[in-house]
């Protein structure tokens, strides 16, 4: 039986620059990087050297605390750079790819006959384990905890997000294998959207399917977990991006770590938004070539979506979980006179003092300005309107700001990820950096509980 969850709270932000469902070929990337920044909470130890040759699927760095968790190279080639920043922090490992790709052969496996332990070992060996995440702490999954369940959300509903059903085309078998493999470790919950019709989703086997309808953030895996089986203190759940499930499926079906995927290039400042074949860790520049018009220097390029993505540059690289590259205007050159009293019809707001409510589903071109100064929390109930979770969001934020660990635990910090607060950060009239605050709270607790 399929459970249907109707999410009422939330907000769909309709932006200009949605990708058409067409794939456009672009030049291949000249080099690739794998960065520890792609994996939250990982302190890396690099295990390759500059000049060394690596095969695709060979680990480039490991989690220092859990050396069994490696992170697989997306391509085969020569390590050209291990970039380090302040205090020798590893920024990334760069690889110049071979013309002919060589993959580490992990052997084809029939997942239906494997045990959970075997699946986990295989993921660890192949360097894909760390591509999954976990709650609590919203970090790259750690092998030391047994998960009570594994959650996969196939619904991408953030503004301008890539359509997962389009990514799924041609990868259905790998997706199912990935789900079956994960189901050997723990019960797998697959969250899908009410409008998703792909048979690979609606007919997925070895999982419990839950349908989520309603506005963003219904697709947030954290929101889905909160509705299905909230995380209690001491419990762990793993979460996997649906594309990572496909990577896992490919590993078992082909014996290779094959990180090819498609990403959408979207946003109001991109000409002809569309999808492209890429490999994780590839350059962003070829995807944006000749598409940014004359304003390249006043643009914000985002590795991900406008709510949770990482700010990057034209010289940046595609992240491990990136499904879209978004380009919007930075907006620093704008000059809006007395904006606080003007009608500002081109601006989007949930507040009815603007006229977004009159303009229906108009697509907006929003720039990156914060559009206001940071204040103490003034308005009440703003966050609750866009966080469909059984959480006192405002009080949790206050507990984090005041560093009260007991109170954070009581208020359910183990159940949340920073991305669950992204919409609240968008609507917040006090312009607080909520995702940053939640992340600092999670880090504080992790340190405390270590």
């Amino acid at each position: 039986m399929v459970n249907v969850f109707k999410i009422k709270k939330g907000l769909d932000i309709n932006l200009e620059g949605k990708a058409e469902r067409i794939k456009v070929q672009k030049d291949a990337s000249e080099d690739f990087v794998l960065s520890p920044a792609f994996f939250e909470g990982v302190v890396p130890k690099v295990i390759v050297r500059e000049g060394e040759h690596v095969d695709a699927g060979q680990a480039l760095f490991v989690n220092k605390q859990y050396p069994e968790v490696g992170f697989a190279s997306p391509v085969s080639g020569t390590v050209t750079e291990i970039a380090r920043g302040e205090r020798r922090k590893v920024l990334h490992v760069k690889i110049s790819p071979d013309t002919e790709q060589k993959y580490v052969d992990y052997g084809i496996h029939d997942v239906s006959r494997m045990s959970g332990e075997d699946v986990k070992d295989m993921l660890l060996k192949a360097g894909l384990f760390g591509f999954m995440d976990q709650l609590p702490y919203a970090i790259s999954a750690l092998p030391c905890n047994e998960p009570k369940a594994i959650f996969v959300s196939a619904l991408r509903d953030k503004p301008l997000a890539a359509d997962f059903e389009f990514e799924l085309e041609g990868n259905e078998a790998d997706f199912q294998t990935g789900l079956t493999a994960l189901s050997k470790i723990a019960k797998v919950y697959l969250g899908i959207g009410a409008k998703q019709t792909s048979a690979a989703l609606t007919g997925a086997k070895d999982v419990e399917i839950n349908v989520f309808s309603g506005p963003c953030p219904a697709g947030n895996v954290g929101v889905q977990i909160n509705h299905i089986s909230p995380v209690n203190k001491g419990e762990t759940v793993w979460t996997a991006d649906p594309m990572v499930v496909i990577f896992i499926g490919r590993l078992f079906n082909t014996g290779k770590v094959d990180l090819r995927r498609i990403v959408a290039v979207v946003g109001s400042m991109v000409e002809n938004p569309s999808y492209h074949d890429v490999i994780v860790g590839g350059q962003i520049a070829p995807l944006l070539e000749c598409r940014l018009g004359d304003f390249a220097e006043c643009l914000r390029i985002i590795d991900g979506n406008v709510l949770t993505g990482r700010r990057t540059t034209i010289d940046g690289y595609i992240g491990a979980h990136t499904s879209e590259i978004t380009v919007i205007s930075e907006g620093e050159e704008e000059c809006e006179f007395m904006g606080w009293m003007m009608p500002r019809l081109n601006q989007f707001s949930v507040n009815r003092s603007y006229f977004s409510w009159l303009l229906g589903k108009k697509a907006y071109t929003l720039d990156a300005r914060v559009k206001g100064g940071e204040r103490h929390m003034i308005m009440s109930g703003e966050y609750d309107r866009v966080i469909p979770m059984d959480i006192c969001a405002e009080y949790l934020i206050k507990a984090i700001i005041s560093g009260d660990i007991d109170r954070m635990e009581e208020l359910g910090i183990y159940e949340v990820a920073p991305e669950d607060f992204a919409l609240a950060e968008f609507v917040d009239s006090s312009k607080l950096e909520l995702q940053h605050i939640v992340r600092s709270g999670l880090d504080m607790l992790r340190k405390e509980n270590a």
Binding site: N232, G331, C335, S349, V370, L411, F426, Q435
Partner: protein
């Protein structure tokens, strides 16, 4: 506008650290963000933001107060000319201009003193000026009698801004509603200018308008009349429209209702708090009416005095009222109920709204604490069930 922006950019170095005018940096910042939407962009977090900010919110509240303020000015003139017995010979403009001249100095004093302290404080702390006082500054003149001396107002504003707001951390951190603290300060420190029967009607000849009334002239508010057991000589329509003596902005239910529509439509005031206040007030007044404890009918309690004004503009202050959704009903209900209880049970104070809201401001965190505790205990229960 680009020229103005260029000019502002040009003079900025004067206000930066080491510049000649660094002592006025908060003033420059305030002016700049007042004139132009800040162009800062986020370094972390979401890459787009809603166009709403606290300046917009405060401006909407000020706009929602304008009907009551404008009517208050007119009514000031109306009451004065009525008292002078010259209503028939004077035009609408006479009445309004008289009220304008009587009220405007109070608005100016309130803003100059309040914003002056805010700017100085922001400068001292090296912070950006906050716009909370835009609302308090206009609320304060609306909740005092028209004869309140400007010096007393200035002292009260200074006290409230410093001791009710800034020492707590500024806008968003205060426990008590700043405008009501100003009023309470005046009420308890200078009772002779804030209560009694001689303070509600302007008595002076002003800039070519009005008449000099004798100092001994008195006119009680309807609530005071009721408290003294006298008959109220005003019709229901006078009470609803606001042609009665009282604090400057509180008399007209119609003008306040216009403000309420703006606040509720934009979602800036919580309908839950507002509905709570009316429910609490109506129910309590009905009980007292039924038991004969008050000579007023329940609806007279609602339309007289500061009840509506308090319910719409004061109880709904998001900073000092309850912040949880359930808490808002409880907070509102108790404000309404306590206001009527003070009016009826306390012979000293014919009006109870100010004290009710201040009292409940104090209890709002407790109400929220109980509501949040429910969420916490639900989580704890889930944890113990899971362990079993």
């Amino acid at each position: 506008m680009n020229e103005l922006k260029d000019y502002m950019d040009k003079i900025r170095p004067l206000f930066d650290k080491g510049g000649k005018l660094h002592a006025f940096r908060s003033l420059y910042d305030g002016m700049e963000t007042f004139l132009f939407v800040p162009n800062t962009t986020p370094k972390t977090g979401v890459h787009i933001h809603d166009a709403i900010d606290s300046k917009r919110i405060m401006s909407i509240v000020v706009i929602s107060l304008l009907p009551a303020l404008l009517f208050g000015m007119y009514n000031t003139g109306y009451q004065h000319y009525l008292a002078a017995g010259q209503l028939d010979g004077s035009s609408f403009l006479d009445l309004f201009l008289y009220g304008l001249f009587a009220v405007m100095p109070k608005i100016l004093v309130s803003y100059i003193v309040g914003l002056g302290i805010e700017f100085a404080w922001a400068q001292m702390k090296g912070e950006e000026i906050q716009e909370g006082y835009l609302v308090s500054g206009i609320l304060i003149p609306m909740i005092i009698p028209v004869t309140c001396p400007l010096w007393a107002l200035a002292v009260a504003v200074a006290f409230a801004v410093i001791f009710a707001k800034e020492i707590f951390g500024g806008t968003g951190m205060n426990i008590f509603n700043v405008a009501l603290v100003t009023r309470a300060f005046l009420f308890f420190s200078y009772p002779s200018v804030m209560s009694g029967d001689g303070v509600w009607i302007a008595r002076d000849y002003l800039l070519g308008f009005g008449y000099d009334l004798p100092d001994s002239f008195t006119q009680a508010t309807p609530l005071a009349m009721a408290a003294q057991g006298a008959d109220i000589p005003y019709s229901i329509s006078d009470m609803v429209l606001g042609f009665i003596p009282g604090s400057i902005g509180e008399t007209s239910v119609v003008a306040i209702a216009l403000g309420a529509v703006i606040l509720l439509w934009t979602g800036i005031a919580s309908w839950k708090t507002m509905a709570g206040v009316f429910a609490g007030g109506i129910l309590t007044a009905m009980v007292f009416s039924a038991t004969g404890s008050t000579p007023l009918a329940w609806y007279e309690h609602i339309i007289l005095g500061g009840f509506c004004f308090g319910a719409v503009f004061m109880a709904t202050d998001p900073v000092t009222s309850a912040r949880t959704e359930t808490g808002k009903y409880i907070f509102g209900f108790l404000v309404g109920a306590v206001a009527i209880v003070i009016r009826v049970m306390n012979p000293g104070y014919p009006e109870g709204m100010m004290l009710a809201i201040l009292l409940m401001n104090m209890f709002a965190p407790t109400i929220d604490y109980c509501v949040v505790s429910r969420n916490i205990s639900k989580r704890k229960k889930r944890l113990t069930e899971n362990k079993e």
